[in-house]
């Protein structure tokens, strides 16, 4: 191979000192876009260099530092130390308003707890998406209450202490009633003509209308 003749030619010149070879390895590993094999490294370094030895020195030098020399397959690369991974993340916290569907569901749970999903749907007049309930559970504003003693023994939802803390309430009973809401100007209309729909009246089946509304709920999220 031509490499051999080259070797003979170049062996007239001494290889650079090992410290210099280490510098070279360092620069190559730093700047190359892929992990580099020893062979590639030596091909790029002046003749007579011992990439393996230079690399061993370099590895040692980087021990315990913010950057490490790591083996990737049969090639070498430099990587930031794993314990500093947190520096490579930039966390941004974004606060968003709860969707209308979530607020309404939460409101119903807080006013009617313990309340089943079917009851929530009846009061809202639209079905409650799984995502909405999951979100509230995840936020730890609601939790499962005990099952209702009705056919099917449906689970109920109740609000949590986290919920009370967030809204500054001693208990859910402190929530203002409809009359007070009206007095506070939060209700514009006349009192409801009939009595309030009773919780536990059973699952009203959702018509097409409700389904259509359900769609809008999804979009709101």
């Amino acid at each position: 191979m031509s490499e051999d003749t080259e070797k003979e030619e170049e062996s007239l010149f001494a290889a650079p000192p090992i410290a210099e070879q280490e510098r070279m390895c360092e620069a190559i590993l730093f700047a190359t876009a892929q992990p580099v094999t020893l062979k590639e490294m030596e091909a790029r370094m002046p003749h007579g260099c011992d990439a393996a030895e230079a690399l061993a020195h370099l590895r040692k030098r980087y021990e315990g530092r913010g950057v490490r020399v790591v083996k990737v397959g049969d090639a070498w690369a430099m990587r930031t130390a794993p314990d500093l991974g947190f520096l490579m993340q930039k966390e941004t916290v974004e606060t968003r308003k709860l969707s209308r569907a979530a607020i309404e569901t939460l409101a119903i749970i807080s006013y009617h707890q313990p309340v089943t999903r079917a009851e929530i749907e009846e009061i809202r007049g639209v079905s409650v998406s799984r995502g909405t309930v999951d979100q509230l559970l995840e936020m730890e504003w609601i939790r499962f209450g005990r099952r209702k003693m009705t056919p099917g023994r449906p689970v109920t939802f109740v609000v949590t202490q986290t919920f009370l803390d967030h809204f500054g309430l001693e208990s859910a009973r402190d929530l203002p009633g409809l009359k007070e809401l009206r007095a506070a100007g939060l209700l514009e209309n006349r009192p409801p003509p009939g009595s309030m729909p009773q919780a536990g009246d059973g699952e009203a089946d959702e018509g097409d209308e409700a389904e259509a509304e359900d769609q809008s709920e999804l979009f709101e999220e």
């Binding site: 966390e91 941004t92 974004e94 709860l98 607020i103 936020m139």
Partner: protein
Amino acid sequence: MVEDEFEEGQARVVPVSERVAAEALIVDIDGFEGPLDVLLTLGRTQKVDLRKVSILELARQYLAFVDQAKQLRIELAADYLVMAAWLAFLKSRLLLPPDPTEEGPSGEEMAAHLAFQLERLQAMREHAAMLMARDQLGRDFFARGIPEDVTRVKRVTYTATLLDLMQGYARIRTKDEFRPYSMDRESVFTMEQALERMRSLIGFAGTWTDISTYLPEGFTSDAARIRSATASTFAASLELAKEGKIELRQSDTFAPIELRRKD
């Protein structure tokens, strides 16, 4: 270094023999970047410090250059000719003894500024070359080859206020009470109704009659109903007067309005 680059630039457009003959007579003016560039080249042929260049000699050379270019029917850009004219003017100023009554800068001042401009351009060219001769990123030194990008972790938290909660609840509980808005028409006597009523009555109005007597039954006691009926009856009267069916009169402001059939 700059020198080399510069000469190279010229070599592209000028045969060597011609350049040797007279460097000033380069006719392809596109090879130059404007009159100042030409002057700088001419100045450098004087092989002296630009600060000590003979502006007179420079002006002479430039005028010769422009002259030659014109003879070759090369279309000279206006700025070359403007420069030529200005240099001719400068030359005259430098050659003639200064006229104390004349306004404006002296020939020496103008020449000094030209020398400054040439020196500054030359300096910028040299420094441009120095800049380009520096070690450059991606050529002599390198950035990280495998950047580990910062991953942006977006955490979304949701919030709501007590007001949101209560309004939400109120919204649900009052949904059924919603009634589309429509005008309450119970106490309204429309103009159409008034017109219809009056058409059937004016036949009997042979004499002047107060229009208030035309208010329909049931609209004479309740204030709101009186207002509505009065307004519509009045409007209907105007409409009938316009049609030429009746005459209207009012003796005074706020006096009763009276109507009479028109025959």
